[in-house]
Every structure is written in structure tokens, then in C-alpha cells.
Amino acid sequence: MGTPMSKTITIDGLAVTFQEGQTIMDAALAAGVYIPHLCHNPEFKPHGSCKLCTVNVNGRNVASCTMPAVEGQQVLSDIAELNAERLALTQMLFVEGNHLCPACEKSGNCQLQAVAYYLGMMSPHYNHFYPQREADASHPEVMLDRNRCIYCELCVRASREVDGKNVFGLSGRGIKTTLVVNSVSGLLGDTDLAVTDKAVQVCPTGAILVKRQGYAVPIGQRVFDHLTIKDVQTGGGHE
């Protein structure tokens, strides 16, 4: 199989071809192989922070979204040990923030929730941190709720790379990391964010929401109400 130009890796025993310059994640997605991920979005430069996409390559764990595919790599991904660790990381993301799915407008369209379903998460397992985080309703059309931020920096990247605005950034350190916006007041309403910006559309959770559209699509008819995140993310469109 494959053109003379293409090279091959194996993922869980399946031969997957790739082009020079592609990462393991690129190759997997192109071949319809799902590796769970949250901070990765093929439209943007790989980031490598959520670590959900960690795979085992020739005995070593690496983030598949940042690791270049190299001829002959034997990649293990859909194995019990890694899936258990992905589940633990997902639970960590839930307890470090305040994620209340039943009360969240994003429910059903949320990638964090969908990954949790996919990995079979039945409880948060760890004790909740219940952090005090600020919500910001100052923008006329966009709501920022830091309680749901998972620090994937997709909004940071989209604003910088696509919108050319730098509306978002991270400050603080460690567990005190926080999403900041580009205004002296620290309020979203005082930035030049527009509702049409790419940064508004890329949030995998409900941290950035367009106002007055919360229930335009009723619960029960949303993306992940009918499809798994695996179906959605390997089926061409990225949500």
C-alpha cells in the first residue's frame, strides 16, 4: 500500500502511512485512527499540554500530537494502561476546575465531556478542588467562564494566529495558572474580541460561549448526543 513517497508506522499493529513532517497524531487522524485529545486541533500548531494523546513509541511514552512520525515506529495507543491513564488525566481536569455538566450550556457539544464518556468516566475519582475562578460577562456577545477552562490555549493560539489580536494569554503558574485577557481592566469587554473571531469558536469546553445561543440546539440534538468523539474527530470535521 501507499505511494513510493509515503512511509509507514504501525499504530496498535495497524500499518498507517504518513508524509514527511507529519506527527503521529496527523498520521493517525488521516488514517481514521482515533487517539483521545483535547488541546490538539489540526487547524493549529501542536501544543502538547493535555497529554491525553500520550502514546507509547518503541517503549517510551510521548505526546502523539507533537512527536514527528518516523519510519518504522511501533506505536501503542488503544491499550488498557494508557486508557486508564487518559481517564485519570480527564478526571484531573474535571476536579481542578468547576465542571457542572447539567448546568452548562455546552453540555452535549463539550469535548471534555465527550472524552470523559469515551473513556468510560463514571466518577471524578479525585477530591474536587472547588477553585475560586472568575466569570466575565462584560463582553456584549461573548461569555468567559474560567471555571471551565482547561488551559489548552486554543483560544490563545486562534486569537494570535488567525485573528491577529492576542486577546487571550496565560498568567500565573502551576495550579494557579489563569486565563487572562488583553485589557488594562482585565475584562473581556474591554478587549477587541469580536464574536466572529476564531478564538470564540475553538474552545473545547464551555469556557468561551456565544451569548444568547445556549439552547438554540436543544439538548438531545447536540453533536455528542448521537456520536462519540471518536466518530466526530475521525470523520473529517473537527467538531
Binding site: 497529554k51 511514552n61 505526546a63 488525566l89 484531573m92 476536579v95 494569554g169 503558574r173 495550579i175
Partner: protein, 609 residues
């Protein structure tokens, strides 16, 4: 300390910004000066600085929020930061800090109501051989006791500038207890560079290779390999080659003096008394890889060394050992710039250090590519430890055979050890590699040693059963920290201290480390408060596995070492603290009712659970 009374932040900023010019890599250096002047980074200053460097405001805010020594809220005219390493704790840090807080009427971590002073903890300041230690407005205080704190309290109340405080408060001793070839034999400035010029760059690389010199920062990567990868790296940009093999000046030599591993202080001594040797080694490296520019990344805690290091650099420039055409060699140009850190252990990781050098948050990069090919500003960069450069200078002067004759097969040469804890003579000990722990303990006058932390929290804790092990890459690798614990100490307290350290220093980039170190801290606190159960130990082992296998960098993957080591070697210290129950909730239901009891003024039986 000067009194800054600028009403206009702009007026205060103008000279600072002018001095640092327009390159955004100076951002962190500017913020350090602003913090000094204003005791905080005011919001208006962030705007002005962002405009000056033409970077988004969020970037400046991101950097200001990342480093411990910077603060967007005022920390008071006097900021006392007590070193919170386990060695400082063993010497009474907690009581002393509370004593000072009581005297000054401040709560730890808060600023006094008059805005005069704040008292808080900070990660190890590298004064473990002369603690308890602290920093006051960045200046190191050593050998603290109640008498000294009484004096400090008076000085603060009298608003005496720190520069006028009695010098004896700031005395830092080298405490060199055992010297070998590195500390004992003098190298005349320029001798190693002359040897390199006589021998040739390629031949010098061959000597470093044959010497089998390995990085002294702990990881032990072969120095010659790093140098030759950097030399061989070719950088292409938009199709064109902009950096040819060995080409100048697009290669960098970086000396990692971010000595943040708690318990390590050898680089402090090297930079204080052997700076010429270190700079000589950097210059040797520059000649070998073809670098035109070098950086010394000096941890913020060692800022007191900055002025004297600048003097050493100036003397070397005047002697023709730095600058253009070094020692008359046509085309051999190299100079060194000192860049200050600002309180972030993660910047000891080489790619985070490079980010910090570029004036950014100290976040470890994704690898590949590695710094040797894509380092500072995307150019080939060598990052080596202070001691590695000192060794390289010696090898350049005396040759590989001389060096390789010392130590063991896989660990040639000598190693500087920073020894502290329960021993009569804490300080710096230089040994050939291969020395046993028991030999070290005998030499430093260890009192009834029971456990030894080798290479700091990220290293290994060994028990008395393992004291015949050797310091070498093939057995116990170390960046140099040796902390001795005597029998009466509780290894659990050390592990507890270390998990707090890692949670505080996690950069927050990746999920496993950001959340995992915090979870680990919470569980250890639960056990410390007497509420731990057997299931908590199981949980910590599983967390440890996730930290080790899923983390982005070495900080996360070693953050569980203190817990896993003590659980394995001293399980009884945990079991003694556990409740007999199988499960104990972390949430204290009765405690949660305390607020309600206070509001209602009730304390009867029915107000309790």
C-alpha cells in the same frame, strides 16, 4: 534600599526601558527592575512595557505572573522570604518565621497594613550550609536566629535601606571543606583558551570526548556529544541556509546557573570564587562549537553575585579573553551576558531556561527539536551546568588522559557535593567519582545518619542500609546535593516538604504535573493532619505512576520520587500516621459547620456532628 517615590510610573520606567533597549528578550530583566522600584508590577507599567517592546499586554502579564519574585500586587517596601528547604526547616525556619511575623504584626504571605513589610516562604535559596536563610528584597540573609531577627525587625521599623544594614547579616561563606583538582588547583585566566588555540578547536573537542566528561547538572549527558551536535547543526530559514556548520555568530553557549534543586549550592561557590574558571570553560566551548555569544543564566536568588560577576567579565574583556579577536586570534569573537532568573525552579530545565532567556514564561518546550539544533532564538545552543564548564576548562588545559584517570569508568573526574543537614561540617566537598556515601558521611561528621537525600527532591532518598553505594552515574547520579538526616528525623516530613516544593514549582503547562503535584500535596497534607488511610497510600502510588509516565518534562516525572522512595524504604513512618479505618473522607463535615457556629454563637451538642 532606595526610597522610590515616583508618582508617575512612566517617569520611573523611562530610564529602565532605555537601558534595556527594544529587544523583547529583555522583558524579564525589565520586570525585575520594576518590581524593585515599585514593590510590584503595576498594571500601568505592564501597558507601558508592552508598548515599548511591541508585544501584547497578555504576554507581559503572563511573564509577570509566572515568576515568584515578581508580583502584580504590592509585597511591601521590605519583602522577607524565608528559605523553606527541609534543611532550613530542620534548623528552625518555621518557628523563626512565626517569631518575625509576631514581632512585625503581619500574617505570613500578607503585607502589613501600612504597606511596609511582608513575610513569606520561598523555595531553597541555596544557603543550606548556613541556614536558616532568607532573602530581604533579594539580598541573602544567613544564619538567622532570634537575635538577628530582633535586629532586622528594628531596621525595618526604622525604615533603614537594606544597603545600610550591617554587613554581617549578609555574610555568605564558601565553606569549602574538601578540595581536589577543580577547587584545589589554580588555573591562570587564559591558560585554557591558549591551550585550545594551540591545539585547535577540533582537537579540543576530541579531548573533551576522550575525557568522557558528562554533564554535572545531574542528567549526565556526554558533553562532547552536545558540543558536536551544536557545531554540526545547520539552520535553514525559508529555504536558505542562515547558519552553516560551525558558523558565527548564530550559535550560543549558555551556562545554567539556575541552581534551584533544594540542597544544592556548589554553583554559588564556583561563581563566587571560581568565576574565571567558569567563564574560561564557556569560552572554550564557544571556540569548539563556533559560538559568538554566551549567556550566564543566574538564578534570582544569587543576584547578590551579579555585580562581582560583571567585574570579572570586564576584567576578562580588558585582558583580551572576551570580545573581538580573543587573545589576538583573528575572527575569534565571543562575549558573555548575564541574565537573571526571578524565582522559578523549572528554569533549570534547559528548554525552559531558553524560554526564560528569551524573556518568556519558563515553560519547557516540546522536543524534538532539541536546543543543540534549535535553542535560543531558534539557533543551535549548548546549555551546560556551571561545574561542567569548569571541568571543560581544566580538560582543555591539561588534556583528557589527566581527567579520565580520575573517577570511575563511566564517571570520570571529580564531583562537587553540596552537603548539609545533620552533620558537623556542612559545605562543599570535592571527591573523585566513585566515593561511597559512608565515606562522605564520615568526612562531614554526620550525626547518627539514618537516611540521605541524594540529588535533592528530584533525586533519591537512600536509607542507612544503602550507605555503601557510590556517587557515580552508574550507581547514584547527582547534581551534587547531599542532605543528611539523623535517626530522630522523620523521613515523612522531608517527603511532605518536597511535595509542597514540586506543587509550588510546577509550571502548570501539562495536566499530569499541574494537577498531579497538587493532588499529591493534598493527600500528603491529609496524612500529616492525621486523617490518612491505607487507600491514600494506594492513591499516591498510582499518582506517582501517572506523574512519571505522562509528564511533559523532568519536573513532573521526578515529582513523585520523594513519596515513592519514602513509601518503599520507610513504610512504617506512613503507617504510624494512618487511621485504622479503611477510608477517611478528606472533607471535615463538623469543621465545615464552624462558620455557622460562630455566626449563631452556638457551641452546644446539637451544633456539632
Amino acid at each position: 534600599m532606595q526610597q522610590f517615590e515616583y508618582s508617575d510610573i512612566s517617569r520611573m520606567l523611562t530610564p529602565i526601558l532605555a537601558r534595556h533597549e527594544g529587544d523583547a528578550s529583555r522583558l524579564l530583566q525589565v520586570l525585575l527592575e520594576v518590581q524593585d522600584a515599585c514593590h510590584s508590577i503595576p498594571s500601568e507599567a505592564i501597558d507601558r512595557i508592552a508598548a515599548h517592546f511591541d508585544v501584547p499586554r497578555v504576554n507581559v502579564e503572563g511573564v509577570a505572573g509566572f515568576y515568584s519574585f515578581l508580583s502584580t500586587r504590592s509585597v511591601g517596601e521590605y519583602r522577607m522570604l524565608f528559605s523553606s528547604n527541609i534543611t532550613d526547616q530542620m534548623l528552625g525556619k518555621d518557628d523563626l518565621m512565626q517569631y518575625l511575623c509576631n514581632k512585625l504584626w503581619v500574617e505570613p504571605g500578607k503585607v502589613s497594613e501600612d504597606g511596609l513589610v511582608s513575610v513569606d516562604s520561598t523555595s531553597c535559596t541555596g544557603m543550606c550550609d548556613q541556614g536558616p536563610a532568607a532573602l530581604v528584597n533579594g539580598w541573602p540573609l544567613t544564619n538567622l536566629d532570634q537575635n538577628r531577627l530582633d535586629l532586622i525587625c528594628e531596621l525595618i521599623r526604622a525604615r533603614r535601606p537594606v544597603v545600610e544594614w550591617p554587613p554581617m547579616l549578609f555574610e555568605v561563606a564558601d565553606n569549602i571543606r574538601r578540595s581536589d583538582v577543580l577547587l584545589g588547583e589554580y588555573l591562570a585566566p587564559g591558560a585554557a583558551i591558549r591551550a585550545v588555540l594551540a591545539r585547535g578547536a577540533k582537537e579540543t573537542l576530541a579531548e573533551i570526548d576522550k575525557s568522557n566528561l558528562r554533564g554535572r547538572g545531574g542528567a549526565g549527558f556526554k558533553t562532547a556529544s552536545k558540543w558536536s551536535f551544536c557545531h554540526a547543526a545547520i539552520v535553514e530559514e525559508e529555504g536558505g541556509i542562515i547558519c552553516d556548520v560551525g558558523g558565527q555568530p548564530e550559535r550560543y553557549i549558555v551556562c545554567n546557573a539556575d541552581e534551584g534543586e533544594p540542597g544544592t549550592f556548589k554553583d554559588r561557590v564556583l561563581l563566587n570564587s571560581y568565576a574565571d574558571l567558569v567563564f574560561e570553560g564557556m569560552t572554550v566551548g564557544a571556540r569548539v562549537v563556533g559560538a559568538g555569544k554566551g549567556f550566564l543564566y543566574l538564578r534570582g536568588e544569587y543576584r547578590y553575585l551579579l555585580a562581582q560577576l560583571e567585574k570579572v567579565l570586564q576584567k576578562r574583556r580588558e585582558a583580551g579573553l572576551l570580545g573581538d579577536n580573543i587573545l589576538g586570534q583573528d575572527g575569534f569573537s565571543f562575549d558573555i551576558e548575564i541574565h537573571l532568573g526571578a524565582g522559578a525552579y523549572i528554569c533549570g530545565e534547559e528548554s525552559a531556561l531558553i524560554e526564560s532567556l528569551e524573556g518568556k514564561r519558563g515553560r519547557p518546550r516540546n522536543r524534538p527539536p532539541f536546543p543543540v539544533t534549535h535553542g535560543y532564538k531558534g539557533r543551535p545552543t549548548v546549555v551546560d551546568n556551571v561545574e561542567t564548564f569548569a571541568c571543560a576548562a581544566k580538560i582543555a588545559e591539561k588534556g583528557s588522559a589527566w581527567f579520565a584517570a580520575m573517577g570511575t569508568a563511566q564517571s570520570t573526574g571529580t564531583k562537587l557535593l553540596s552537603i548539609s543537614g545533620d552533620c558537623a561540617s556542612p559545605g562543599i566537598y570535592e571527591y573523585p567519582f566513585g566515593v561511597t556515601v559512608s565515606q562522605i558521611l564520615a568526612d562531614c561528621g554526620a550525626r547518627d545518619p539514618y537516611a540521605v537525600q541524594v540529588s535533592g527532591p528530584s533525586g533519591t532518598m537512600i536509607s542507612w542500609k544503602e550507605f555503601d553505594r557510590r556517587i557515580a552515574f552508574e550507581d547514584l547520579p547527582t547534581a551534587g546535593a547531599i542532605v543528611v538526616f539523623q535517626r530522630k528525623r522523620d523521613p515523612f516530613q522531608a517527603a511532605l516538604n518536597f511535595v509542597h516544593f514540586f506543587a509550588h514549582e510546577s509550571c502548570g503547562f501539562c495536566t499530569p504535573c499541574r494537577v498531579g503535584t497538587e493532588l499529591q500535596k493534598k493527600i500528603m497534607d491529609k496524612i500529616a493532619s492525621g486523617h490518612g488511610t491505607a487507600s491514600d497510600l494506594v492513591e499516591m502510588k498510582s499518582l506517582g505512576h501517572i506523574l512519571k509516565t505522562m509528564s511533559h518534562c523532568g519536573l513532573g516525572s521526578s515529582a513523585a520520587n520523594p513519596v515513592l522512595d519514602t513509601l518503599e524504604k520507610f513504610p512504617d513512618v506512613y503507617e504510624r500516621k494512618l487511621k485504622a479505618l479503611a477510608f477517611e473522607p478528606a472533607f471535615d463535615l463538623d469543621g465545615a459547620l464552624e462558620t455557622a457556629r460562630q455566626i449563631t454563637g452556638r457551641d452546644d451538642e446539637w451544633a456539632h456532628l
